[in-house]
Symmetry: C2
Subunit: 145 residues, 2 copies
């Protein structure tokens, strides 16, 4: 199974953070990204994986268009539902990594609320189904949780 890509927006700012381009590395999103890379490496060492937590690859993106709900992260893998979460903080790295590992372990990528770590129970911003999408007048039925 392909690993789950854990995409971290490095441009997310919290209230009061300097919007200047000179301070990109200090933004909450950049700090969260660094925390997630470190957490994934630590988990990888425990897993015996060389470069991160087994089944999870941490990537950074410059903007997920969730600017009003930062920090934001997305979980994506081929053939699985994509999930986007907001309202996160750099100190939430452990919960976010746990959610990414759960996404990697689930064949459909679904993470029902009860299966999500505490800090990701609220703040889900989007869940996009994997293609192919059923083109019809009937509602696409999500698989049962």
């Amino acid at each position: 199974m392909a690993p789950t890509d854990l995409l971290v927006c490095t441009r997310c700012r919290l209230a009061g953070e300097d919007p200047g381009e000179a301070h990109l590395a200090a933004r909450a999103g950049a700090r969260l990204h660094r925390a997630l890379v470190a957490a994934a490496r630590q988990a990888g060492a425990a897993d015996g994986a060389a470069d991160g937590a087994e089944g999870v690859a941490v990537a950074s993106v410059a903007c997920l268009s969730a600017c009003k709900r930062g920090c934001a992260v997305a979980l994506m893998a081929p053939g699985k539902a994509s999930l986007l979460f907001g309202d996160l903080r750099p100190e939430d790295a452990a919960d976010i990594l746990a959610a990414a590992r759960a996404h990697a372990a689930r064949a459909d990528g679904f993470l029902p609320r009860a299966a999500r770590p505490e800090r990701l129970r609220a703040g889900i911003l989007a869940r996009l189904p994997a293609p192919p999408h059923r083109v019809s007048a009937d509602a696409y039925a999500w698989p049962a949780a």
Copy 2:
């Protein structure tokens, strides 16, 4: 180029709408879906396409997890950025279809704010990059608008 899938959440409700399962077909999301199917067929007739606007396939989904920002629609196509928009109404079908056609026409699926129809300039909830995602400590650079 593969068509853009225009995914419409049929479960979205506006304030005051009956949450009961008996009234699913009357929900704003279901009405928006019907309006989009009709608009796509009408555009298809003008395009000479048999079953909808050229390059756009309307699909319905039961929940995009954007419940607080309904009505919600997503634009997705292989190899392109996925876009999610919220705060929409059944009467916005024409603008939504125009955005879907613009997504279909753009190789990267990007729709900068200025290129979006009026009703989709605000209300963007997510923009997820197409895989492969660059796994590194550096920010993934979106292509220039």
